[in-house]
Symmetry: D2
Subunit: 361 residues, 4 copies
């Protein structure tokens, strides 16, 4: 059984483990106030071309999302995101637990547009009873999205513009950022994030680290007292250097980008295999997550040797599933999978799938 | 400069790193649903002599405290602890952030008594306006306390009795539990915790792990849906096996106890050195934290080669400080410190400290 | 200018004012522990045929909703309601501010069905990642709905059944309950509410009182400590008797029902007028709120002498608006309005409105 | 039995009832956006000599406190008050329920000093681990205090100075403000409050109104979006004009001050009676609450005809109790009480109370 169900089934990249082992017996200050964290912060600032950016290391994604959102919003304010947004769908109400509504915008693709955001905010303020409604005051997006898609630089710039216009911050969840940066069609680079977002984070957990997310705060006012918020949300790791050492390793010598590219390359092979075998894709993802639509027989056949997630039941014995590669995905495993896809679809596939007409584009 | 300022200045015990490295490329399910976590859970249950205990692995202490407390209390209820309790003093209001008051009981020593708890609860219910006051509904203690002291089995049993009588749970924070178990005078063992507490946790972060706290829930009703709470508080580590592997390593072959004993042994040498040199101790701690009271000259002298924490300014040029040892403290460093204490006190110490009369007992 | 924009534009029913004036100089205990509140509680229990019901008097609807929901749910749990539900749409995120997600079910009509609730709950529990999603644990409905419609006894019984089956409570917001009870087609009476709901409340503010909502808790376990919750949410009125006196007045001699019937009668005259004049209705409401769809010219004409709310902009110069009557609506004002509707539609109305085809049924 | 247990045992001042009755059938907009509220706001601004002050009408004191505090603080911040402060002691954890710690300063008298506040804040910021502690960010005081005492203008000015110096707002709870303004020794007037506080409120509930507190926000930035907060906390009364009408009545023609003076005059007669009869007073209160210390026999004797609150059990059969007068206290009732005090103390009193030495000053 080979696991493609998510991008956190393996441990950490060997270089990271090496670095942890090598520095293990050193004594350092706790809570991220050590030299490793300082170095990592500097390297990340450099990578973003923004020296004065504030970087904080947190343990996980839900923690990063909750801490940032709670630190930005006032009690009557809400965060706006796609209905598929991780904070809306898969964080056990962590944002609501800090007192805030998550306003969701309809989105087939997992992306939201500047026009949607503008309409949402204008709609709020033009409502004569707006004081009876939570005030949209932060935009949350992911790169790549939950659906594996990418915002283009133009789209991100438009979101930035509406945020400027409405005076609300833009927050980008980069839990899988490495797999965006590693995608062939990506045109949003580190420096773009630093100049277009108010806050964003660089995911380590899913891209080679044991754990860890580097939260980058691009505005001084939003950074003020942020460490209190981290502590309050249980995110101030006592042995904080473990985070610094990991991010230093990921960002010196370009390891982070390399890991991203490798995972995407394998994902593209899987995507091609499904396509060639006649399978539709729920989303045309250029990143490490692939969403083929399988009939029951093919699904059952593939389940024999691979684990993957059921994403969405569709009408007519169709199921959209998710295969995720990661920095650790083995070439040989993908070879085998590609063969098995071919074989399964040849035997069990439908030649002219009647059901492909009504898919979201 | 050698660091004695806290017990999390080094990395992880080598056996833990070895285990992480050895298992690194294996694929497992995420979120603590892997075989390593299962094994670790079983070993801990075994160590506690309580097969049906529920064990959950969280990343850090503040997270563990907040998640447990928020999962137990209803909105109008409060947790009761010593005024020195970690949740009251050093967690940035994390408990309050989940909506609950922390009711503090006065405590010179850092311990609270069954009589104090009874009085607090009886006082609440006998107040005709009790509906206007947060309802005490959970007791929080630490073993060892923030002050390095230990509850005896008798004291813990009495606390248990008052909790039974009042129908409120008892929660024990064992962030430094290893250093309690490793103390010569300790008479509260793992099985006692499992039978006397409703919830307790076993600290890994400060006792040899990279990070991690094992929350043990001894009552089925309090365990229900606990994983939702972990997720909501950002504590469900994606690569959860890292926690399982660490706790498996700590609890098989008695490593955890061994680490505790070593740290306490070194702490006792430091304690003896201060005592022999004529220094008073703020608390008579049998565990890894020592609280000598130094005059300004001695303090300054020791600061040249050692880092330690200022604990409390006292009248008359006296300062109580804290030296903490850990599983990683080097014998040679303590040798050197012992010598330096002797020397500094010989030169700068006061022979008959006039200020020892009014110390807390 | 006559106001039909909502049902709280006037003061209180004269009998209520009389009762307040008459008892004004008496001395009573505070916080609802007076004889007037006791009497009112008894009368309401009697009216509901449920002696052992717990009745609490709160000041307003948002307060009642928030207090009930926060008292019922654990932190990881969510309340389920129609997307038009007042708690979802018009309470400034009050429920989220207590830490809970509001899960909304799609609803054109403002009503939700037992089938929808079952699907929502089953969907949650059958999701393998359900621990990453807020747990649906309370159903919230309104009678009448925000759209003026009524649940039938059969529908309510079905909702009760699914709640029993799933072991989650059913909470009914009766802010406008009087206008449900006063509707000709209503078949859900006080005793039905008491036997089918776990918690419901009887709205005073909109039905003749100065202010006040009577929260009825039908289960002993949900009532425990409820007064703490009221106090915590700022709802324990110091001079609580003002609430008792008002509800005593409303519920002795059948005043509450009488007020409801009068308002509905006037609303029906307005409805008929719009219908006869050829206007479509957004909802076929049998209660005090009416939702005619007007073209721009008619709307403008009516705005000259009446205030009413814009409910929803529709395509093609159509606007759904809301006219609300109340216990205080004057017969003569409705006479005048009916005439003006007739006149305006005769002049500006469309004979065969092309736009009526695609309305929700 | 005559009630002196608190200052909200009667209804409302007749002029208020008259005004409510007179305006009852008028139609107005809801939620405080009516002409009565506008007028009341203007009159209050005038009374405070501050035209640009923002005034909001809320229903009750706990609601006012919670709403203001939650609107001012960020999640990691705390409010500082006397340990006797109402928010710390008698609001069922309402402030904590919004996520904030209440930091209490020791206070025998119920007052806090500028020096205490300065020390608290300096102590926070000079603590190297301050990021692990809730940040003091708002000062809460009451005028009069829970103990019936008054801040002088000088004391208030000093508090203002430390707040300016530390850049944190000063919030004054004036639930009983009328009884401060009505005290002979008071030197803090409405205009002083408006110039020295950032936010304060004028209590109606305890000073002649049915209910209602007028929150005055003296800084534009703190006023922004405040109505959202009111709504979120369930404080936006639908028939908001009831608040406007009451405050208009209280503040035109000086009724509010008159009511305050009358209550204090009666309180002084009670105070004198206890003093003359040889009773000690727990606090030397110049306002409507009096705190005589009674022995068991005198207490029992007075309980036969009067209700009053037990405030504090003291050693040696002594109990401090509270008698509260109000705007509605009857002259004849006080005549009778004065006689009964005299009589009870003559029979049961102690001539030279041995226990008066160790009272707080």
């Amino acid at each position: 059984m080979y696991r493609f169900e998510c991008d956190y089934t393996e441990g950490a990249h060997p270089r990271i483990l090496d670095a942890l082992v090598k520095t293990n017996r050193e004594q350092t200050a706790g809570y991220g106030e050590d030299a490793y964290c300082d170095t990592a912060r500097k390297i990340i600032c450099l990578a973003c071309g923004k020296e004065d950016m504030n970087v904080h290391f947190l343990v996980g994604g839900t923690q990063a999302n909750t801490t940032v959102i709670a630190s930005v919003l006032k009690p009557h304010q809400a965060v706006v995101c796609a209905e598929t947004g991780h904070i809306a769908a898969h964080e056990s109400g962590a944002v609501e637990a800090t007192g805030h509504k998550v306003i969701t915008l309809p989105s087939e693709s997992g992306k939201i547009t500047a026009a949607q955001v503008r309409k949402c905010i204008d709609g709020h303020w033009s409502d004569p009873t707006h004081e009876h409604c939570p005030q949209p005051a932060l935009v949350y997006i992911s790169q790549p999205t939950e659906t594996g898609l990418l915002y283009t630089k133009r789209e991100l710039t438009e979101l930035r513009r509406v945020c400027d216009e409405k005076h609300i911050p833009l927050f980008l969840d980069g839990a899988r950022l490495g797999y965006a940066l590693g995608a062939a069609e990506n045109d949003v680079f580190m420096a773009d994030l630093a100049s277009l977002c108010d806050v964003f984070y660089i995911g380590g957990t899913k891209v080679g680290a044991m754990f860890g997310e580097a939260v980058c705060i691009c505005r001084e006012d939003l950074n003020r007292d942020f460490r209190y918020h981290i502590k309050q949300h249980g995110g101030l790791l006592a042995k904080g250097r473990f985070l610094g050492i990991q991010f230093e390793t990921l960002f010196k010598d370009g390891l982070y980008l390399e890991l991203g590219r490798n995972a995407v390359r394998e994902a593209m092979r899987i995507k091609d295999a499904f396509r060639s075998a006649g399978c539709d894709l729920l989303y045309d993802s250029p990143t490490n997550q692939q969403f083929p639509i399988l009939n029951g027989a093919v699904l059952e056949e593939l389940e024999k040797n691979y684990s993957f997630s059921v994403w969405k039941e569709l009408p007519g014995d169709r199921t959209a599933v998710r295969f995720a590669t990661s920095w650790a995905t083995k070439l040989e495993a993908v070879d085998m999978l590609v063969n098995d896809i071919k074989r399964a679809c040849r035997i069990y596939g439908e030649k002219t799938p009647a059901w492909s007409a009504d898919l979201p584009e």
